[in-house]
C-alpha cells in the first residue's frame, strides 16, 4: 500500500505513455512530467503569493487580503486577472527586443532549474551526472536576464538596481557553491539522485541527513542565507526595495511582464529551496524511520513549505541590509566560513565514527563562527601597524 501510493505518479506516467508508439514513448513521458512540474509549481506560486501576504500581515499585526474568497484565498485569481488586463506600457526609448526577452528568459531559466530536482522516489525529470553543476549554470543565466531587464529600460535607476542585483548575486554565489561542494564531497557525486540516496539511511530512528552533522549544519545555514540573497528576498532585497529605488530593475515593466518577473523570482526561490532540501535535508526521505509509509513526494513538499514559511518569516522580521553591509557580509564572513566549513567536512570524512569527530568538528565550526562574527561586527582589518610613540 505504501509502495503504490509512493509510486502512483510514476505508474500513471508509464501507463499514459504506453498508449504511444515505442519511438515516441520517452518524449511523451518527459512531456507529461514537464506539464506536471509546470502545473504544480505554478499552483504553488499562486498559493505562496496569498500566503505570504497574509503571513506578513499577521506579523505586522493586521489581516492580509481577506476580501476575495474565504479568508482571501482566491486572491491570486484576482491578481492574475488584473495583471493580464493591464495596459502594457513600454518606454519609448527602451530597447524593445531586449525589453521583451528579459522576463521570458528569466521565467524559462527559473523553470529549467526543476529538471534536476528529485521530487520523490524515482521522480526526477533528468538524472544528469552533473546535476548540481547544471543547477548553478542555469541560475547564472538568471543574472544575465536581470541585467537585460535593468539595462533595456533606459532608466538610470533601473540600471543601478540591476547592477546592484548582479553584484549581490555574484558575491553570494561563491559561498552558495562552496557550501554545496561540502555536500558533493561527502556524497562523492554531483548527481542529485545520488546525493539523496546517500542521505536515506537511518541509524535507529534518526536519519542520515547532512544537516545533522556539524559541517552540514553550518553549510545549511550558509546555503540558506546565500539562497535568500540569490533570490533577492528580504533582508537582501535592496535592488528591488520599494522604499529605496522604487522597484529597481523592473520599474518600467507593467502588466503581464511584471507578473512574469514576479513569477520568475518566486519560482527561482522555490528551485533554490528545493536544491537546499535535496542537498542538506535529505530530499524526499522521511525524518524518522517509522514515518516512511508517507509517500516521498509529500515529504518533499512538506519540507519545501516549511522552508518557504521560513523565508516569509524572515522577510517580515528582519530589516533590509544596506549594499555595503551586504557585500561585507558576503566577502568577510560567509566566504571564510564556507572555506573553513570545507576543511571541517574533510576532517569529518577522515576521522573514524565516534564522539571525537563530533567534538573536533563542532569546536572548529563554533570557534570560527564566533571569531569571524566578531571580526565582522567590530571591523577588524588587515592593515599595517601604526606605531605611536610617547610625545
Amino acid at each position: 500500500m505504501g509502495e503504490t501510493a509512493d509510486q502512483i505518479f510514476v505508474t500513471l506516467q508509464h501507463s499514459i505513455a504506453g498508449y504511444a508508439p515505442a519511438g515516441l514513448r520517452p518524449v511523451l513521458s518527459t512531456m507529461l512530467a514537464v506539464i506536471a512540474i509546470l502545473g504544480v509549481f505554478a499552483l504553488l506560486f499562486a498559493m505562496t503569493t496569498v500566503l505570504e501576504r497574509k503571513g506578513l500581515g499577521r506579523i505586522q499585526n493586521r489581516y492580509g487580503p481577506n476580501r476575495v474568497g474565504p479568508f482571501g484565498l482566491l486572491q491570486p485569481i484576482a491578481d492574475g486577472i488584473k495583471s493580464l488586463t493591464k495596459e502594457d506600457i513600454v518606454p519609448q526609448a527602451a530597447d524593445k527586443a531586449v525589453h521583451l526577452l528579459a522576463p521570458i528568459s528569466l521565467v524559462l531559466a527559473a523553470f529549467t532549474l526543476f529538471a534536476v530536482l528529485p521530487l520523490g522516489r524515482n521522480m526526477v525529470l533528468v538524472n544528469l551526472d552533473a546535476g548540481v553543476l547544471f543547477f548553478f549554470a542555469v541560475s547564472s543565466v538568471m543574472e544575465v536576464a536581470i541585467f537585460m531587464a535593468g539595462w533595456s529600460s533606459r532608466n538610470k535607476y533601473s540600471l543601478l538596481g540591476a547592477m546592484r542585483a548582479i553584484a549581490q548575486m555574484i558575491s553570494y554565489e561563491v559561498p552558495l557553491i562552496l557550501a554545496s561542494v561540502t555536500v558533493i564531497m561527502a556524497a562523492g557525486s554531483l548527481s542529485t539522485v545520488e546525493i539523496v540516496a546517500r542521505q536515506s539511511g537511518y541509524s535507529g530512528i534518526l536519519p542520515h541527513w547532512f544537516v545533522f552533522t556539524p559541517w552540514g549544519f553550518a553549510g545549511f545555514f550558509l546555503f540558506m542565507v546565500a539562497a535568500t540573497a540569490e533570490s533577492n528576498r528580504s533582508p537582501f532585497d535592496l535592488p528591488e526595495g520599494e522604499s529605496e529605488i522604487i522597484a529597481g530593475y523592473f520599474t518600467e515593466y507593467s502588466g503581464f511582464k511584471f507578473a512574469l518577473f514576479f513569477l520568475g523570482e518566486y519560482i527561482g526561490m522555490f528551485a533554490i529551496s528545493g536544491l537546499g532540501i535535496t542537498l542538506f535535508l535529505g530530499g524526499w526521505s522521511a525524518p524518522l524511520s517509522f514515518l516512511t509509509w508517507i509517500p516521498s513526494y509529500l515529504w518533499f513538499f512538506a519540507k519545501l513549505l516549511a522552508v518557504i514559511a521560513m523565508f516569509i518569516w524572515i522577510r517580515g522580521t528582519l530589516p533590509r541590509l544596506r549594499m555595503d553591509q551586504l557585500m561585507n557580509f558576503a566577502w568577510r564572513f560567509m566566504l571564510p566560513m564556507a572555506l573553513i566549513n570545507l576543511v571541517t567536512a574533510g576532517i569529518w570524512h577522515f576521522f573514524e565514527h565516534g564522539v571525537l569527530r563530533w567534538i573536533v568538528c563542532s569546536v572548529v565550526v563554533v570557534v570560527s563562527y564566533v571569531l569571524l562574527g566578531r571580526g565582522l561586527t567590530q571591523g577588524w582589518k588587515l592593515e599595517r601597524r601604526i606605531y605611536r610613540f610617547a610625545e
Binding site: 553543476l133 549554470a137 543565466v141 544575465v144 547592477m163 557525486s189
Partner: protein, 164 residues
C-alpha cells in the same frame, strides 16, 4: 541536423557580436554565441565542459565585460566609423587565415576518419584525472587565478592617496 542549427546560431551570434555599434548589443550576441557553443559541447557528449562553459563564460566573463562597458562609457554618441583605419589589410589577413585553416582541414586525414561511438564519461573520471594525473596543473591554475584576481583588483582600484 541539431548540430547545424547550433552551428548557425553560434556563427550568427559571433558575427553580430563583432559588428554591432552599440557595445551592450554586442555582448548580448556574444552570450548567444557562447550558449550555442555550450549546446554543441553537450551534443558532443562533453557534459562537464558544456555546463562549465555556461557557468563561467555566460555567468562570469560576459557579466564582467558588461561591467567594464558600463564603467567606461562615453556619454556623447560619436559618429565615427566602428573600424580602425587599417581595416582593408585586416580583412585580407582574415581571409588568408581562414583559407589556410580550411586548406589544412581538407588536406588532412580528418576527411576519412572512422566514426566512433559516444564515449561514456563519468564525472568521477574527470575528478580522478584532475587529482591524480593533472595534479600539478591544477595547483598552478589555482595559483594563476589567485594572481589574476589580486592583479585585476590592484590595477582597477581607485587611487585614494592623491588628494592631500
Amino acid at each position: 541536423m541539431l548540430f547545424t542549427t547550433f552551428a548557425i546560431v553560434t556563427v550568427a551570434g559571433a558575427v553580430a557580436a563583432m559588428s554591432f555599434r552599440h557595445l551592450v548589443h554586442s555582448v548580448l550576441s556574444l552570450i548567444v554565441a557562447f550558449a550555442g557553443l555550450a549546446a554543441i559541447y553537450l551534443l558532443l557528449g562533453a557534459q562537464f565542459v558544456g555546463l562549465a562553459q555556461v557557468l563561467i563564460y555566460i555567468g562570469a566573463v560576459a557579466i564582467l565585460v558588461v561591467f567594464a562597458i558600463l564603467l567606461t562609457r562615453n556619454t556623447r554618441e560619436i559618429q565615427r566609423s566602428i573600424a580602425v583605419s587599417s581595416w582593408r589589410q585586416s580583412v585580407a589577413v582574415v581571409f588568408a587565415v581562414f583559407g589556410v585553416l580550411a586548406w589544412a582541414i581538407y588536406g588532412s586525414g580528418a576527411i576519412s576518419h572512422v566514426m566512433r561511438p559516444q564515449p561514456e564519461v563519468a564525472i568521477q573520471q574527470i575528478g580522478d584525472a584532475l587529482i591524480l594525473r593533472f595534479a600539478l596543473p591544477l595547483e598552478i591554475i589555482g595559483l594563476l587565478l589567485t594572481v589574476a584576481l589580486i592583479g585585476a583588483v590592484t590595477i582597477a582600484m581607485q587611487e585614494k592617496k592623491e588628494k592631500r
